[in-house]
Amino acid sequence: MVRSDVQLMLDVKAGEEVSFELLLHRYRTPLVHFLYRMVRDQASAEDLAQEVFLRVYRAREQYEPSAKFTTWMFRIATNLALNAKRDGRHRQLEVSIGQPGETAGETNTGHAPSVEVADAQPGIESELIARDRTAMIRLAIEALPEKQRAAVLLHKYQEMGYDEIAKVLQCSESALKSLLFRAYETLRTELAPLVETGRAPAARAKSGEVRTS
């Protein structure tokens, strides 16, 4: 039987360390993905994700199952990421379009990019196009006001429900829907070249990430 997040957290509170490892295993990927898109840097995202898990662990004594575990965890993550962005501690150097590691399907683990000096490779043109498209998406989302950005990431990439996102961002569901509408309206304008030449319309196509609800 799969134990719920709340049960696992209560077990952690009771001193069962193994339950913490289960929570870590369950949420490390969505958390790192979310933070990567918030701070746009893999190393910083992992640092912040570690901090989130550490804070969850330290707060185990005070944990009360009144709020959903993921709501609590993503609220911590959102606040840490926004503070990090404001402090500029995790701001990368100015990045031009075509930053290594942003290519679709490529994982950025902080190592040197593996696609340098690949003129002779077939398909390099389509790869460059994909990289440009990815960079445009990233820059457009990054240009959103911070609350809209967090809302889009939680809605589009984490596939959270409105009620939970509203609790994470501490606003009403109605305000959240307006927030999302305005954010997607901005993105529709900013990414018009991509949307117009968009691929097959996908009704909220699955991004293959772990659902948090």
Binding site: R28, E46, I137, H155, R188, L191, V195
Partner: protein, 164 residues
């Protein structure tokens, strides 16, 4: 429903999370408003475009790093935790204790002179003791054991008078 109301309802409609009545209202508006219809179609396409931004998975040593940090986290507060003061308070308390010890060690300077004087002979001893204001009432103090080495009471009188 008008265009402004769509701001609150379009996202839930596209997500398939609108109620039946909301869905009917949105569909009715989309059927008559070309601008909102276009927006709805482009929102759907936009969501497909956004999927093109991948995020890398956590590195292989992520779990180990987290667990290492957790292992360093302070143990849960025990019953005696309240006894442990802050480092600043501990330093202040230690400083006060050391200062007290040092000050108390300064005080017995005069009695030590008495002790030294004890070994230098009867008359000199008495002169030293005589100078001490505490010995004004000699008759009383002579009863103390500490002064038992002093000469008998007539003797001091005879020794002191010539000096005066």
């Amino acid at each position: 429903m008008n265009c402004q109301r769509m701001e609150k309802n379009l996202i839930a409609y596209l997500d398939g999370k609108a109620s039946a009545s909301e869905r009917r209202k949105v569909e009715a508006h989309l059927a008559e408003c070309g601008e909102c219809h276009e927006r709805a179609e482009q929102f759907r396409m936009l969501w497909g475009v956004l999927d093109e931004w991948p995020a890398p998975p956590p590195s292989a040593n992520f779990d180990a790093n987290v667990l290492a940090h957790v292992a360093e986290a302070p143990a849960r507060a025990g019953f005696w935790a309240w006894l442990i003061p802050s480092p600043r308070a501990a330093f202040a308390l230690t400083a006060v204790v050391l200062l007290s010890v040092w000050l108390s060690s300064m005080r017995p300077s005069r009695p030590s002179q008495v002790v030294v004087a004890q070994s230098s002979g009867g008359e000199a001893d008495f002169k030293m003791i005589e100078d001490l204001p505490v010995l004004e009432d000699y008759d009383v103090l002579s009863n103390f054991d500490a002064l038992s080495y002093l000469p008998a009471s007539p003797a001091p009188a005879t020794q002191v008078q010539p000096r005066l």
